[in-house]
């Protein structure tokens, strides 16, 4: 299901301004990425009706939420949105059950079955607790359940993992994926780590200084060498959509193919014919001029260099490769780049040291 969201707004808050004009087709999760002060939270608050722009127009799924020129401003409580704040904002005087019922009673009979939500988010044992007795991650789960209980047409998630302990983030992320898969509510997801984005979002919007600098399918945005937001050393990478070809039970490997190229991954993944998203970190990609012999790396893909980005203040260079119709990012030292004499349109071999499944 694709829902259309049109935003054309000029929001000024103190010294900050968010100027945005975008036609968004939200299919599943739209990820919003950006540094501190880029305007991510402001965008969510704008959509929720918690901030009023000086000038602007917001349309969601065919209904007008805001049009300053016509004097229309649908108040927050009539927009049927579900918002999960960074700080959960549970009602301290109500138990977990009370918090959920607060939302359910206001859903005008459209609340999804409570049991289904409790089960998906594992909340049964917490029902009688008060928010003060929950951990950060538990609070976020309750906040998410509460938002779902209000039967929202649009879900707004503001860095829901930031309040959870590092060790618990993976678990919370898995809960989020389950919710997104089971309830199929159009979602705008704000985060500042690429990892969450690549696991949840289909489309990505990058905000910087209150403006949109990139918008498109995740794999396309990730391949933009000019965006610092997707080029951080520990996170930059690419996503490749591949098909499971066969399992090799003896060696515990799975053979995949994409665009006529073949590669293998460790472990037995999916079933033959399944489509899987594979994430390849840029630092796990090496480049060779000739097909290497006597090397342990098994995934050697013929590729063409499509772009090189060099910053003389940094030791590394970012390189974009094309292989089997997919864009693959590689990060080498500038010294290697010069030694090999790499240039755009050059045909090379990409050596993949590791790859991981997006859904892991």
């Amino acid at each position: 299901m694709v829902t259309e969201l049109n935003i054309d707004a000029d929001l000024r808050l103190g010294g900050f301004s968010l100027e945005l004009s975008a036609r968004l087709h939200i299919e599943g999760v739209l990820g919003v990425l950006g540094g501190n002060g880029a305007g991510k939270t402001s965008l969510l608050r704008l959509l929720a009706g918690l901030e009023r722009p000086h000038q602007g127009c917001i349309e969601f799924g065919g209904s007008c939420w805001l049009d300053t020129s016509r004097g229309i401003a649908v108040p927050t409580h009539e927009r049927r949105i579900g918002m999960v704040f960074q700080d959960a904002r549970l009602f301290p005087h109500l138990s977990v059950a009370g918090n959920l019922d607060f939302a359910g009673r206001r859903a005008k009979g459209q609340a999804p079955p409570r049991d289904e939500i409790l089960q998906t988010l594992g909340l049964e044992p917490l029902l009688e607790r008060r928010p003060a007795a929950l951990s950060g991650g538990e609070r976020q789960r309750v906040a998410l359940a509460r938002a779902l209980m209000s039967a929202p047409r649009l879900l707004l998630l503001d860095e829901p993992l930031s309040a959870a302990d590092m060790g618990y983030r993976g678990e919370l992320l898995a809960y989020l994926r389950d919710v997104i898969d089971s309830f199929r509510i159009p979602t705008v997801y704000v985060a500042h780590t690429l990892d969450e984005m690549t696991r949840l979002a289909r489309h990505l919007m990058v905000l910087r200084n209150g403006g949109c600098v990139a918008l498109g399918p995740v794999s396309e945005v990730l391949a933009r060498l000019d965006l610092p937001e997707v080029s951080r050393r520990d996170e930059s990478g690419s996503i490749v959509e591949a098909t499971v070809v066969a399992h090799d039970p003896a060696y515990q490997l799975t053979h995949l193919s994409f665009g006529g190229q073949s590669m293998s991954m460790t472990g037995l993944i999916g079933m033959p014919g399944d489509r899987v998203s594979v994430r390849i970190f840029a630092t796990d990609v090496a480049i060779a001029l000739q097909k290497p012999e006597g090397i342990s790396i098994r995934n050697v893909l013929p590729a063409t260099i499509t772009a090189i980005r060099v910053d003389n203040n940094l030791p590394h260079a970012d390189i974009l490769l094309e292989s089997g119709g997919h864009a693959i990012r590689a990060r080498l030292t500038r010294a290697s780049l010069d030694d090999l004499g790499l240039a755009e349109s050059q045909r090379v071999f990409a050596l993949l040291k590791a790859a991981s499944l997006v859904s892991d």
Binding site: T76, H77, H93, R106, A133
Partner: protein, 228 residues
């Protein structure tokens, strides 16, 4: 228990109860406005509300006496509307008490409302709660302790009121003769027996009420703060 002025005690309790009820109703919107308005003259209104805290009761009483007089602004209006005098009447006493105890109701409520926080209210709005719904289901229950404090302070303050009553109420049995005035008169006439009994009843009652309130307060805070 002969010789206790039950009439004065009942009148005092009635005055305190009516004043408390009226003030909680009046102070709620006022405190809400003070807690949330960003207008530059909020400070002026806050200062006016707090005046009874610092003014000697006789100063308040003097101005109210003039204002409530048949020739004064409010007294004249009241006279033309009801044919009754405002000074030296129970109604006048209630009105004076409301003004005199205004800060005792407003300040705890204002603090309570400010403490509820915008975050919780925004969350309520995103869950489909209208402003009125948010006030009833979130602000009121989260301000319980503020209401409790406001009610106790107002009640106690009205109970102990003396200067203002003396100025505008006088000493009319069943109409304006409250305990503090009766006690004062008993001492003036050297009737120490009556004075003792009145004082003891008031002391016992006040202590009992405070004990009850603080007990309730502890339970409320326990329920809000703890997990189960």
């Amino acid at each position: 228990m002969m010789g206790i002025e039950w009439q004065a005690l009942a009148l005092t309790a009635q005055l305190a109860a009516v004043t408390t009820l009226l003030l909680l109703l009046l102070a709620t919107p006022l405190a809400w406005w003070l807690a949330h308005s960003t207008r530059p003259w909020v400070g002026w209104v806050e200062a006016v509300v707090a005046l009874p805290l610092v003014l000697p009761p006789t100063v308040m009483g003097f101005y109210l006496l003039l204002w409530f007089a048949p020739g004064g602004g409010l007294g004249a209006l009241w006279l033309s509307m009801t044919g009754q005098q405002l000074n030296f009447s129970f109604t006048g006493l209630v009105l004076a008490s409301v003004i005199y105890s205004l800060p005792f109701a407003t300040q705890p409520l204002q603090a309570a409302f400010a403490g509820v926080g915008q975050g919780v209210l925004e969350a309520g709005a995103t869950l489909g709660a209208s402003p009125w719904d948010r006030f009833l289901r979130l602000v009121l229950p989260l301000s319980r302790r503020g209401y409790l404090t406001a009610a106790v302070l107002t009640f106690a303050h009205t109970l102990g009121e003396f200067g203002v009553v003396l100025m505008i109420g006088g000493n009319i049995p069943g109409e304006t003769r409250v305990v503090s005035v009766a006690l004062y008169e008993a001492v003036e006439t050297l009737d120490y027996g009556s004075a003792h009994r009145l004082a003891a009843v008031l002391l016992g009652f006040s202590f009992g009420v405070l004990l009850l309130i603080y007990g309730l307060n502890r339970r409320l805070s326990f329920r809000l703060g703890s997990g189960l």
